[in-house]
Subunit: 663 residues, 2 copies
Amino acid sequence: MEEANSNQGGGIGGGSGDVELIMVTMDSSPRRVPLPPPQSTCAKLKTRMKETFFPDDPFRRFNGKPPATKWLLGAQFLFPILEWAPTYSFSLLKADLVSGLTIASLAIPQGISYAGLANLPPIIGLYSSFIPPLVYAVLGSSRDLAVGPVSIASLIMGSLLRQVVSPSSSPALFLQLAFTSTFFAGLFQAALGILRLGFIIDYLSKATLVGFMAGAAIIVSLQQLKGLLGIVHFSQQMALVPVMSSVFHETREWSWQTVIMGICFLGLLLLARHISTKKPKLFWVSAGAPLASVIVSTLLVFLFKGQKHGISVIGDLKRGLNSPSWDKLLFHSFYLGTTVKVGLITGIVSLAEGVAVGRTFAALKGYKVDGNKEMMAIGIMNIVGSCTSCYITTGAFSRSAVNHNAGCKTAMSNIVMSMTVMVTLLFLMPLFIYTPNVVLAAIIITAVVGLIDITAAYHIWKMDKMDFLVCICAFLGVVFISVEEGLAIAVGLSILRILLQITRPKMVIQGNIPGTDIYRNLHHYNEATRVPGFLILAVEAPINFANVTYVNERISRWIEEEKEKHITFQFVILDLSAVSAIDTSGISFFMELKKTTEKEGLKLAFINPVGEVMEKLQRANGLHSLFGPEYFYLTTGEAIIWLSSLSKESRQGSKGTSGISNL
Amino acid sequence: MEEANSNQGGGIGGGSGDVELIMVTMDSSPRRVPLPPPQSTCAKLKTRMKETFFPDDPFRRFNGKPPATKWLLGAQFLFPILEWAPTYSFSLLKADLVSGLTIASLAIPQGISYAGLANLPPIIGLYSSFIPPLVYAVLGSSRDLAVGPVSIASLIMGSLLRQVVSPSSSPALFLQLAFTSTFFAGLFQAALGILRLGFIIDYLSKATLVGFMAGAAIIVSLQQLKGLLGIVHFSQQMALVPVMSSVFHETREWSWQTVIMGICFLGLLLLARHISTKKPKLFWVSAGAPLASVIVSTLLVFLFKGQKHGISVIGDLKRGLNSPSWDKLLFHSFYLGTTVKVGLITGIVSLAEGVAVGRTFAALKGYKVDGNKEMMAIGIMNIVGSCTSCYITTGAFSRSAVNHNAGCKTAMSNIVMSMTVMVTLLFLMPLFIYTPNVVLAAIIITAVVGLIDITAAYHIWKMDKMDFLVCICAFLGVVFISVEEGLAIAVGLSILRILLQITRPKMVIQGNIPGTDIYRNLHHYNEATRVPGFLILAVEAPINFANVTYVNERISRWIEEEKEKHITFQFVILDLSAVSAIDTSGISFFMELKKTTEKEGLKLAFINPVGEVMEKLQRANGLHSLFGPEYFYLTTGEAIIWLSSLSKESRQGSKGTSGISNL
């Protein structure tokens, strides 16, 4: 034990007990490479913490700056608006005005529609398109994100809350729970950002999201059959089977006027969408189509008195801006579990959408979006929203794309959109009285159809069958079971896959590429040839408790297989270049491996252990003294030269008693 | 899309669209290394399945054998007794007789004691030492395992079942639930073995087990205070706090005669244990001590009529062998959840103990124990046991060690032990009437004290602080919360650690070791020096959805840091040797990285992608055509030579327009 401590403190150059790497130069005289510089546990912990929580090193910019600059940089860090506002110009404003008005024309009908998806009054959707964009414009660092209610988060919130409270029989309580859930979602999002735990959303992989979004789009579209067919008594459930049975059970309720109107507007909207997809320059066609549809359909209903012919309309909407709602937040213990759960799920999902959208457009324009900072911005936006009659909001994919195509330059476009919504709230609300619900349904369907990305699913299928399985499980889970369980299944599968990769690490048998000093996978490189007398294996993953048993069994199987093929070898070389980490089980495994190979008359050698592995092996040596310097080499080539010469010497010493002749 | 398919089928040698590795030989003329041989998805799936479920390739032995031999080998595979029984000799029998009698002398008092730990009648412990060892002798492949009830599984079963049914007020129902739980445990264990899912127990790492066992030993010892102090009204809970408060709350119940007797025998037993630990040759001292204590204490009680002086005794035990108990298995839906849960937890825990003990002694004697086969053996043993009045059994660590030290040769020692227990059951039961419970408590404490392995904990501390954290969490969780939650916390932490390793993979910056063609971590090898004009990075983990964001951020940070240091470079080299796998997110990351580096005027190069990564990159190329052959090199050295020459050519071509001068 004493020895272990002295070794650990021994440092570079090292005492006689140190494990050292042998390097054989061209003239075969061994040269030593020192051990990694010793680090205290505290220093290592600090590095580890920094890499885990601050991989982007946000404080680097403060280094060596005068205090005044530091303050300014700090304020800019917290309020990105300070970065662009001082240099804001008229030409930028022109661009932002155009894009802001464009997304407002999309945001108003979508806001009303998505509120319906969450079983909330339509006006809440407009409120949510007014305050949150203002907050985001101050705090957010993306220049393209168009903020407001989104379809998937609305759907999840509506369906989860409906399991506890009926939105039709107790709408006031339902609204309270929606605000409270939004509050928790914001709290949770901000906390993730502040605690630098943003990497949690990385666990929603691309494959998961593609499958999940497609499934959610199907579910959302199915829900719109209610509006599209004019059905009054509709299933309370979300999954495919109950919805379809509900649709065909209530055929008597279908209203032909509604159906015709729905199909016409849906056709027009999809056509507009198709045009904009084909020619991005014509982005305004799909961007303006929803508002145009709302105006035209409202006029039609007004002129033909459609509401008397079975076409349901939005009805009277209260004029005026958001009223404060902090007094409506409900922290009663009976509903606390539900609201926290809904907040957690919608928080994560909307965060994933917002951050992914922000990153996508940032990459397109070549600027950076800090994930953790975005989380804080979105979180604070939702906390403020929950106190001002807004429900969950985030960066919407479809509107952000329109925003980008319309040429937005800064978050000012969100302010423009917000102001337009404010004008609508103050003066234009009575115009919505005759807006038919069927058009809102058509707008939602057109918006979510874009979430079904078949090309992406096809690419995933071509690239990686396992990823495709995750994708299809997310899709089927959402469509046939429920939104949250589908998501849970997909995330569970993704994590299981990673764990399985760890449990069954790649191990390869290597050979020499003739004429070089390169050793590569025998089964990959046909040129590679075995080195007689040596079994060269490489482990390509961290060795830990979850895979030591497998690695052990796999190595014994290789040794046995080689023996069955009557290939004689005297040395087992283990290339550890790719073993990036090791734990105590891994160290015990090396000790055991040494014993078993010695029993079989084989000599073991390790190639290029990385810093952490080397250090732990050395500490183990301090406790057990198992591995001398003759076990460690910097490259496979050097190990082979050195071990061959050792074995020749010993054979010359014992004059032909050794049975190995093919070295 | 067409192109992708033709590429995939293109095979070795490849068409013009193939990605190929450039190899630069000494004379700088590039040589091509072919792509990995193409494999169908099905073939890949088969290989993957084989490595996941059959890493030990159990069918290899059948290859190319005549049918009769195949049958014999198959029978030997299923019943390992057929391997050793035909060649069993008298000398082996002598050894097994000695060891069998030794472990029987330990198994009888321990069986009675452990049954008490599970709140079961003492005789169940003896029954469980009779039938299961016979079953194991036929099916098991370990030669050293001594089978019977064990402390931890008994403790867990007792404490979990007690949460549902009181063993004192409804003992018959409690017994039924114990048998049913044992049945499910066996079913679960056998299923794990048959489905080749044995690797699940690998997730109980050594650190987890060390902490868990120590915690369980403390909990078990505390429970023995009841017997040791003669307390009648004892806490029903297991955790430290309620037990200690119960002990000091009931001081009036302490019986001084019991306390004196307990301390004396505990002292003697610990002394015997100490002697055997110091001198393994004297194994029989600690092996015989429990039975001797039982005999002596029984005589003492009988002679001094101790039962009338407040010393509680076992009392009358029914003579005779196990009665069938399959009619007692209770599959009532009300208790099904409990019994399945108890079966699952005790099944996993006892499996981990049995397999670990089997492997330990197999490694000592140099034979192999097949984990999955052992699981089937232990599982069938428990299923049979549950139908013959036995509760959960497995290979016990302490008795197996005694068995090994006593020189056992085959599983025959289990049969000898079983026969001895049978004789006891048939003829010697009345002798236990006066056996005092306090001696049983002392026997349990002596047995479980050995589970507290402070040296192992110290080694874990020296080697790996994070492993130690897992260990200490398991310990504290078991002691202060509960046995199953402590275990769950430790396993959760271990998995979290692996996930964190994946989420934050090791990435290093490499330099050249002068005079060689070797590139290593700049911070690890002080000799290594930067190559001017090149930024050489290596990623040391699979690249997947969980870490692409991090890898991306880390690379941009490196590029920025180098620029801030005013180091000019034109090439970013990414060593992928250690990237053992990649998913679709990883491929997207490479594409994005190419775009961002190109924007910064940097050229990207990949070194040595392994088979799977290469294949996926090629398929992505089929879909997007991004990476030409100039992106891929076999070694860093070759990439540097080749890219330098390219850059020289281009500079000569553009006659000094390039600002890079230090190549």
